[in-house]
Amino acid sequence: MSVLARSVGNAFRNKVRTAAVVAVLAVAIGLALAMLVANQAVTGKVAELNASVGTVLTVNPAGGQGFEGGGEPLTSAQAATAAAVPNVSSVVGTKALRLRNAAEIAAGAASGRTGQGGPGGQSATSVTTSLKAAVDAGTLGNRNQAASGTSGTGTTGSTTAAAPAFSLPITATGIGAEVDSTGKGLQLTQGTGLGNYTAASTGALLGTTLAEKNGLNVGSKFTIQDQTFTVKGLFDAGTAFGNNALYVTLPTAQTLAALPGELSTMIVTVNSMENVDAAKAALQAALGSGKADVTQGQRNLQTAVSSLDSVKNISFIAFVAALGTAGLIILLIMVMLVRERRREIGVLKAIGAPNRTIGLQFVLEALVLVALGSVVGAAVASFASGGIASALISSSSSTTATGQRGGTGGFPGGGFPGGQGGPLGGASQLLTSVTASASPGVIAAGIAAVFGVAIIGALVPALLTARIRPIEVLRGE
């Protein structure tokens, strides 16, 4: 018989009461764990959203966006102005080009189809390449082509009936840093980056599907405007549209377009989420409203993030409260047990038990109860946490849904149904990620916290036993 064995025995002395205590503890512990899981999932998601898009502003020329609209182009001087705005941590200029397969242009000219550069926009001239697009035109592409064919160039001829396969342009973007056109870091799957993005180079990064379509790999060569480029790396943008693209350095793109110092877009990163609104206004003022449009492409996500932030806070408060409740239950139960076993504690002292042995015995007894409560509670939590998280998030996302717009807007081909986020954006994705992330690690951390609180809760009554005098052994005789 050891202290531990006695503690376990004592924990089961009154089986009905033990069952009741374990049940109550299980509810509190289960709730605490469920809230912790929800909190962790939401915290992770919020961090992810903040890191990726929450602090990024996009600057387009006033009146223009991508290849649409008109107005004056942005310049490198404006990039310097933007960089000087308070709370702006970085400004990345981009220069977008549309690449056309040289052979197809020749074929198109032969069949009387011209003006494939699209309507108006900033790069009316097509830049030719040896690459073939990785995306087939399909119904949407052909419909767009039909529309632009009539309004854009006014050439005669039966556009829809024109048989030669029309293929989509490839988006080439000159970038001033290793980020994609929305400001997210590029996900390179092979090869390296381009090194210095602010110097001209003949390196290029290709989307995985584009490289595959053209049978290219890291080290392969291809041409743009009859100039030879080398594939330095492959990236995966995660969408078919995003992967039908390539990146070169900013000066290279400006040279190819024969428009040095001109930018299509500036991607401005603000130092923190809280400063985004102020920085946006300051940026707009600095650049002049007639010259540039400052947009927050992921506005809807910002709204989602702020509501998720409140879910995060609520779940954390609930976690702490449930944890505190578990601690309080332990405290009260143990105080009750100490009072009830006053005489028995006197017996132990009368036969020479040291205070710490008796205290330890009670702490261990409390931990036995908590261990049982945790097992049942963890089971409860693993069933309930998904439901609780969903309930919390769906109630919060329904309130934000009204403020959300479709798509992410912005960059070249903003009109494309590119699948960059549905109407519910982050929130609906979040639901799946929340249920998926009830990891054993989080549960273990939660149970560790529960045990910590239980030890604190049990310590008070355990210390009370030190005050009980051995003469209690004679009480009630």
């Binding site: 018989m1 005489r343 002292k349 036969i351 020479g352 038990a353 040291p354 005789e477």
Partner: protein, 235 residues
């Protein structure tokens, strides 16, 4: 050797003080078997609790082998109870949800005796007090009063104390078992030089002790000494 010096214990009962131990002084040589008789409520249990360091006197002192209990810090008193004292409580004071063996093993556990050794010694002690072997592992609350009393005596002997304080140790025993317990205590004092102080109503037991005290309203008096051998013959 135990010296009791002007021991007083006062309790407040309502607005008046009662003194169940009132200026008690005596000395016992090591190995003495002594008895205390007295009416119910005369202060016998209170006196034993002071000698066993379960309680602190209002005034006076108990000196054990030259060391004063009054000067000992609580930690030392705990050690004194654990190593030097074997207490047989009037109401047994056993842990009800533990078995007889586990109860007897408890003081040895606190004294740091190894598990195998304490199990073996507990079994021997329970045999000495004549508890049926099949009842050794039975829970205390499934044992009769007499059986519990014998477990309580076995527990008091566990750490081979120098002083055994026994409060009515034969009160619940039949005559034959009572005789046996008296023999056991007698042997301990004679062969193991254990000092034993027994509170009893049992004249036969009192007559077999080396020294006999009477407690009356908190005051202790000693009755004329009787030769132990003679007592055994005439008792």
């Amino acid at each position: 050797m135990i010296e009791v010096k002007n021991l007083v214990r006062t309790f407040k009962s309502g607005d008046r003080n009662i003194k169940p131990v009132n200026d008690v002084s005596f000395e016992l040589e090591q190995g003495t078997l002594a008895s205390i008789v007295g009416k119910s409520g005369s202060g016998k249990s209170t006196l034993l609790s002071l000698l066993g360091a379960l309680d602190k006197p209002t005034s006076g002192d108990v000196v054990v082998n030259g060391v004063s209990l009054a000067s000992m810090p609580d930690g030392k008193l705990t050690k004194y109870r654990r190593r030097d004292i074997g207490f047989v409580f009037q109401q047994f004071a056993l842990i009800p949800n533990l078995s007889a063996v586990d109860n007897v093993m408890l003081p040895m556990e606190f004294a740091g005796v190894r598990k195998a050794a304490r199990a073996e010694r507990a079994r021997q002690l329970l045999e000495q007090v004549q508890l049926d072997p099949d009842k050794h592992v039975r829970r205390i609350n499934r044992l009769s009063g007499g059986e519990q009393q014998r477990v309580a005596i076995a527990r008091a002997l566990a750490n081979e104390p120098k002083l055994i304080l026994a409060d009515e140790p034969t009160g619940n025993l039949d005559e034959q078992t009572g005789e046996h317990i008296i023999e056991l205590l007698s042997t301990l004092s004679r062969d193991h030089n254990t000092t034993i102080l027994v509170v009893t109503h049992d004249r036969a037991l009192a007559n077999k002790t080396d020294r006999r005290f009477r407690l009356q309203q908190g005051r202790l008096t000693e009755e004329p000494a009787r030769n132990r051998a003679t007592a055994a013959v005439t008792g």
